[in-house]
Symmetry: C2
Subunit: 555 residues, 2 copies
């Protein structure tokens, strides 16, 4: 069983018609826009809402290994386990980016017997959402360059345009480009660059918008650059927010799919978890809460990144309070944080697990700081030994934190029942959710709070560039936004080699970015890659299509 690939398992699964999945959560056909037989967009104005909103369970993780700890897999498996326990449950997940699949094997739809389906469609163009975002993003670039070409009434300084073009592609040659070359009929020459689509501010906006009207407003607030006198220029100045919102009129609707076990899943939006907030859309989560009693959702990377932003950006914007937080841990990640090199992670090493547990401990403590009860999901891998697993179980017992062993990759929902029981106990208890910081704190203090409380660092320093930006942001009235930290996911610090639970470190804020449309200030620590490259032998070399039109070699 465990020897089949994710794609083979996905292909062996028998999918139910999406209309049947919709019925499970009382969505009428009238509210469904089918995309083939197994995918649909949901018209949120036409759904039958529950009287009471469903409870939110967030799945986060300890600091990951480069291979990942199976967070999406546990998210799906937990929902399937709750489904088995007869709960009215939905999953709310991010959509995977298309570009990276051509690079290195690995999808974002769960794995093994805990996947959302149809896997090949979700991993390819999936109802066109990312393509629409790419189009809206690049239309804005075209409008900017066109405005400058035709007289530049707004006096945009071509050296101070912050808005970049995007493609959903791993393409390093586009990171830095010169555009507008070739003479006076070909635009204004200037420096530009392409990000990957998930890094577009329009992606972040789509994921934080609460309606099409709110989307339009947020888009109008985007700062695209500055004039020569450093006055911000917005989309509203260009008067194209209506056109851009129109491009996104279908992309804003959540996508309904199913897990292998037939649990309804909303998969919608996928912003980066470093330079953006790393959570699926507010609309998908809120729609799931309108339809189900329990919503299982995830946020990118660990409690220091996705979960922190989930709590302080997404939950704040949407106005909900999470009822439980699952922290995914693995023996191999614990060993890595205990100092074991990548190639030795398969060998038993209880001592390293003991050393590495400090990483998990800080993530668990972080969750408690929001007033929400954590549940550790120890996600089983084939090389784990009993001694290693027992150590972690004993540690959790002593610490007084709930822990459940999960085997959802191999067993689907049946492998997550203990986790589900734990989660159900927690969400029935009263929680006392609070944000980590208030919005009226100065930007510096918001960052300092995150660094000290969540990262466990001793302080923050700002480069002179960042200091200048802080001053100008304050002048522009941009100091009431929440902060979106861009940091490596491998360490609590901004140095990815500092594993475990480092504490004697300072975080350096290299640069800030004002995302006045999405409504947050990005604080960049170290070099964050917003356009990946492809490896020497990209996964694309093994991809193909069958004669009847199915994907081969996708995963």
């Amino acid at each position: 069983m465990a020897h089949l690939s994710d794609l083979e398992i996905a292909n062996n699964a028998t999918l139910k018609p999406i209309t049947e999945i919709a019925q499970k959560v009382n969505i009428d056909e009238d509210a469904l826009e089918q995309y083939g037989k197994y995918k649909a967009k949901v018209d949120i104005n036409k759904i039958n809402k529950n009287e009471e909103k469903g409870k939110v369970v967030l799945v986060t993780a300890m600091s990951p290994t480069p291979a990942g700890e199976g967070k999406s897999t546990v998210t799906v498996g937990l929902a399937d386990a709750l489904n088995k326990l007869k709960k009215k449950v939905m999953v709310a997940l991010r959509e995977p980016a298309l570009g990276p699949i051509f690079g290195i094997k690995g999808g974002a739809t769960g794995g093994g017997y805990a996947q959302v389906l149809p896997m090949e469609d979700i991993n390819l163009h999936f109802n066109g959402d990312f393509h629409a975002i790419t189009t809206a993003n690049n239309a804005l670039s075209a409008f900017i360059d066109n405005h400058m070409h035709h007289g530049n009434e707004l006096e945009i300084d071509q050296r101070r345009i912050e808005w970049k073009r995007v493609l959903d592609m791993n393409d390093r040659a586009l990171r830095q480009v010169n555009v507008g070359l070739g003479g006076p009929t070909q635009g204004i020459p200037r420096e530009d660059g392409f990000n990957i689509t998930v890094a577009s501010e329009i992606m972040a906006i789509l994921c934080l918008a609460t309606s099409i009207d709110d989307l339009r407003t947020k888009i109008s607030n985007i700062t695209i650059g500055y004039t020569r006198s450093r006055k911000p220029v917005t989309v509203a100045d260009l008067k194209v927010e209506g056109a851009l919102a129109m491009i996104l009129k279908d992309a804003i609707k959540p996508n309904l799919v199913q897990t292998i076990e037939g649990t309804p899943a909303l998969v919608h939006g996928g912003p980066f978890a470093n330079i953006a907030h790393g959570c699926n859309s507010v609309l998908a989560t809120e729609t799931a809460r309108d339809l189900a009693d329990v919503v299982v959702t995830e946020a990118g990377f660990g409690s220091d990144l996705g979960a922190e932003k989930f709590m302080n950006i997404k939950a704040r914007e949407a106005g909900f309070e999470p009822s439980a937080v699952v922290v995914v841990a693995t023996i191999r990640a614990l060993k890595m944080h205990g100092g074991v090199p990548k190639d030795d992670l398969k060998a038993e090493n209880v001592e390293a697990v003991k050393q590495g547990i400090v990483n998990l401990e800080r993530h668990v403590d972080n969750v408690k700081k929001y007033g929400v009860e954590p549940v550790i999901a120890l996600n089983a891998f084939i090389h784990d030994t009993d001694a290693e697993t027992e150590f972690v179980q004993q540690w959790a017992k002593e610490k007084g934190v709930r822990l459940a062993l999960t085997e959802v990759w191999e067993k689907g929902g049946a492998g997550g029942e203990s986790l589900a029981q734990n989660v159900l106990e927690v969400i029935d208890e009263p929680q006392s959710f609070k944000h980590l910081y208030e919005l009226d704190l100065p930007i510096e203090e918001k960052i300092e709070t995150i660094v000290k409380e969540i990262y466990g660092g001793k302080g923050v320093s700002f480069t002179s560039k960042a200091q200048k930006q802080l001053a100008s942001f304050k002048e522009n009235g941009w100091d009431k936004y929440p902060v979106c930290m861009a940091k490596t996911q491998y360490s609590f610090s901004d140095d990815q080699t500092q594993l475990g639970a480092p504490s004697d470190f300072e975080i350096t804020i290299r640069e800030l970015e004002a995302k006045t449309g999405a409504g947050f200030i990005v604080a960049l620590t170290g070099a964050i890659m917003t356009m990946p490259g492809l490896p020497k032998k990209p996964a694309a070399l093994n991809m193909d299509v069958t004669e009847d039109g199915h994907a081969k070699g996708l995963f």
Copy 2:
């Protein structure tokens, strides 16, 4: 009635569920992949085919005015008229590009009461086909740059890469760009440029492919550039044809929609009519022939461009013979070719119509050269006078060519019944279709045949660049491909100011492009724009979205 906009008329129409439209041509639900309630992709492997293939009626036009002569409108109206006459009929049309709608008002889904619907969906992302083509095109660019970055085993010369990136956008600033800037981790610096997606060779390939396997083969044959020793490098050398075909696995399926009057329509593919062949996909036309007795289809621009390529490229590739050709003419275009300036076209001017008729005459004669009977559709506009119309009718009578007055914009199918009757008479007569030239002629002679026979010119000259290319194409074995002429649509000559029926002109071939994937040689005359720009006040400024998610100001 005539005072409503196309979008208002479209919004007032009551659409039938696409399943009902499918039933009209015996498509089972099993073969339908619904995209919402009113659009579907058709799985061509699961349709019920007629015993006999349907007959093909091509709609072309005289040399157009910049405003267009209503070719798509007549195509739709003719099909609706045939439908009214109880014929089993389908329309096969091109998909409109997304980028241009933000520039100048005007769609590509017909107009008035002769439109295909849902208009706003077809004009926006329409089932993601163009986005998939953009993705495949740019993935290939990323694979090329990645190959060079990682050692360049194939020894691709970065100065001789012919493959360009694309976006479905009017964006002049991307016509000429430098990529790979920023140092050794950011790729190899080189010159590049973006075309609009409809100019991608992958668009042309998708429209000429006869199966997913054929698509894959054609993609593998694309020449992406040359080595330092001028050896062609193909996609097959890069080994990514499988991945690129996989990206297109859904885009290759024809899209089923309906006209306002409920006639089934396949709208699929949309290559440029100058640097590409300007016809909807072979698969859509052939699928329509499998399902209906009469298929009405169009080709871009006049008989000198789209129709010529329809006959010599598409019909040859697909292996069918058109049974009738409709030539759309308008009084205003006749006046323009008679020398009337744009601003005076509304005033009666019978003399100018007389002068301009030579343009229509040459188009009609061109059609006859393929052994197919032409029918003129004189497409009524509100400013036409009886005297002008009567002159054209009398002229046609004297010339012995069929002519029908059409009022399909205002009356839908009812305004096209006379045209439909004429077409039905023609398709019941035996035709003697032949291509204009055989493939084993040298490239120069193919071009000369087109210039003399179709354009009415006296000869061809080649720049020294084009001469060198001819020699190297011959060396590479590329001389058996058909020719795809890139020429202005406004004149038979390569000078757009030469209206009417010029004859004392030479055509200069400035440059050639070998499209070894699509399987044709593009011959460029004059400057052909492959990436449009936006006007000073783009149509985007008037676009918006309603609170319930519908497009506003689209047309």
